[in-house]
């Protein structure tokens, strides 16, 4: 394998891991739920993205055959992660989870069944 390609793959892999850890760290570190959600919503996605890119490159080099299978996974991750995040924030709002004091603006009340 060409050393620079190997290096690139290695780099992507390690970067993927680092992003995943940072995402997880965000999930642990931030003070309120809404902030915590930002970590995984982006970093983990990119972490996996990097890994998938590494995988794509690796197998391309190994088999000499370019294959875009990993694109499908990336596509799915990109479609689904925002939905998860969206529903989770909604749930957080519904549960009126504590926000840090610095937060600007207010989440409004989600319309409730009883109001109707």
């Amino acid at each position: 394998m060409v050393p620079w390609l190997e290096g690139l793959i290695a780099l992507l892999l390690v970067a993927g891991g680092i992003f995943a850890v940072i995402g997880a760290l965000g999930l642990l570190r931030f003070r309120d739920f809404f902030q915590r959600l930002h970590g995984p919503a982006k970093n983990s996605t990119l972490g996996v993205g990097c890994t998938l890119l590494a995988s794509m490159l690796f197998f391309w080099v190994q088999t000499g055959d370019p294959s875009g299978r990993e694109i499908l996974i990336t596509l799915f991750v990109m479609i689904t992660t925002p939905v998860s995040a969206h529903l989770l924030t909604m749930t957080g709002m519904h549960h009126r989870l504590q926000r840090t004091e610095q937060t600007q603006g207010e989440p409004y009340e989600l319309g409730s069944e009883r109001d109707r």
Binding site: L37, H38, K42, D65, G68, P82, Q104, G105
Partner: protein
Amino acid sequence: MKRLLPMPLLSLLLFVIWMCLTALTPGNALLALVLALLIPILIGRFWEPQPTVHRPLKLVAYIAVLIWDIIVANLEVSRLILAPRRQPRPAFVLYPLSLTEPFPITILASTISLTPGTISAHLRMHDGTLLIHALDVEDTQALIEQIQRRYEQPLKEIFQC
């Protein structure tokens, strides 16, 4: 034609993905073609009419921007996470939508969720607003404008709505 190929873009996407999934052989290509034609018909009943893409090239550009932004977003958020003492200044921002169709709005909302420090928290179709939670923002108005400029506008052009 419309009945045979109700969603050309979807069919194309399916064809491409199938070819990505499998080896490049004539047999697979034939199969991909069959599937690309068959699946849209199969799921036709479940497909509520969506605005179609009118400017495919713009879409490509949009995706490029998106990927770039995702990377940037990650670095920024990483910096925030890793910054030892700095507490971010989160905000709930009510974003006024000018898009009206669900499909483009969903793309916009997803884009927002995937890019710099923002998550689309709640969508209110009836008054056309999208509640956004931003992780670290100084000026909420600037954020709104940035989103309008960078994402919503291109989307409007792509879908012509």
